[in-house]
């Protein structure tokens, strides 16, 4: 990741990392629009107040995203029941750009099918660039639990891909 501590243009940084930040936000939001809102709020907070802080900027921005997503969930929990049901039922957009490789296509379709607690570990490790220690810190679980969820997720993904290959 480029050095966010330096006086870099936010546009260049966001152009390079915005997509993976959105995928991370999507793990804790109910819709694509909510993920966009969370990325916007978290990135502004990170860029204005946190990027000069010591430490791994990667972990800082992920923390900012998780906090914004949990805040949004708390706010939307107070909305009407019908609106929640609509938001939960309106997922129509793929998380990834289209791929020509059939194996990658199968992976892209399989990832959202993982249990949420396994999926968030995979996303934080692969697209968040976090270690198991950092993943554990984000999710308030031990590094061993994070590693264990990762292994279960890999096993589940292999099964899902194999099942799709036989379809």
């Amino acid at each position: 990741m480029p050095d966010a501590h330096a006086d870099q243009d936010w546009r260049a940084w966001f152009a390079e990392h915005g997509a993976r930040l959105r995928l991370i936000a999507r793990q804790w939001t109910r819709s694509e629009a909510d993920a966009d809102d969370v990325v916007q709020e978290a990135f502004v907070r990170f860029w204005k107040h946190q990027r000069h802080l010591p430490g791994d900027p990667n972990a800082l921005v992920v923390t900012s995203i998780r906090r914004a997503a949990l805040d949004l969930l708390r706010r939307t929990d107070r909305r009407g029941v019908r609106e929640q049901a609509v938001a939960a039922d309106t997922e129509t957009v793929a998380w990834f750009e289209p791929e020509a490789d059939p194996r990658l296509q199968a992976l892209a379709r399989s990832l959202p099918l993982l249990p949420p607690e396994q999926r968030e570990v995979v996303v934080l490790k692969v697209w968040g660039g976090l270690t198991f220690d950092q993943v554990g810190g984000q999710l308030e679980i031990s590094p061993n639990t994070a590693a264990s969820r990762w292994r279960y997720a890999m096993e589940a993904l292999r099964k899902l891909i194999t099942a799709r290959a036989h379809d």
């Binding site: 995928l23 916007q40 204005k48 998380w95 692969v126 697209w127 890999m154």
Partner: protein, 138 residues
């Protein structure tokens, strides 16, 4: 011997997540590109208020009529962004009928200017509305 988990991780890393909506970059630009201009507006406001207070004090002490320095803003520009319409998957309502949720987002921006001080005030207001379009089934 290759580690199958590692191979899978490499394959996952090749997937390209979708970028945020263009509206996110536009909103970030509003938040991150013009802090000094916004500060300038606040300073101009503060300067205007200070000048008004000084004029009032002078008027009281010197017996002269106070000069009216209250900002007199006039509308100079009004814009409405194109609507961003999301047509979502149909849902079934409690009464058994079907409806399609539609979410519309747009921004209203008005700019006001005090011609005496050339101070400009921008009022940006994002809007969102969600509606259910009834669907007829045969």
């Amino acid at each position: 011997m290759t580690d199958p988990d590692h191979d899978l991780e490499l394959a996952l890393a090749r997937l390209r997540p979708r970028a945020p909506a263009p509206a996110v970059s536009a909103a970030l630009a509003r938040e991150l590109d013009a802090p000094s201009a916004r500060r300038g507006v606040i300073l101009a406001w503060a300067a205007g208020l200070t000048a008004a207070a000084a004029a009032l004090v002078c008027g009281l002490f010197l017996g002269a009529a106070p000069v009216d320095e209250t900002p007199a803003y006039q509308l100079v520009r009004a814009e409405q962004s194109p609507a961003n319409i999301e047509v979502l998957r149909p849902i079934r309502l409690d009464d058994g009928s079907f409806a399609r949720p539609v979410r519309v987002r747009w921004d209203n921006t008005t700019q006001w200017e005090d011609p005496r001080t050339r101070t400009r005030f921008i009022n940006y207001r994002p809007n969102e509305a969600t509606a259910l379009l009834p669907l007829e089934t045969y």
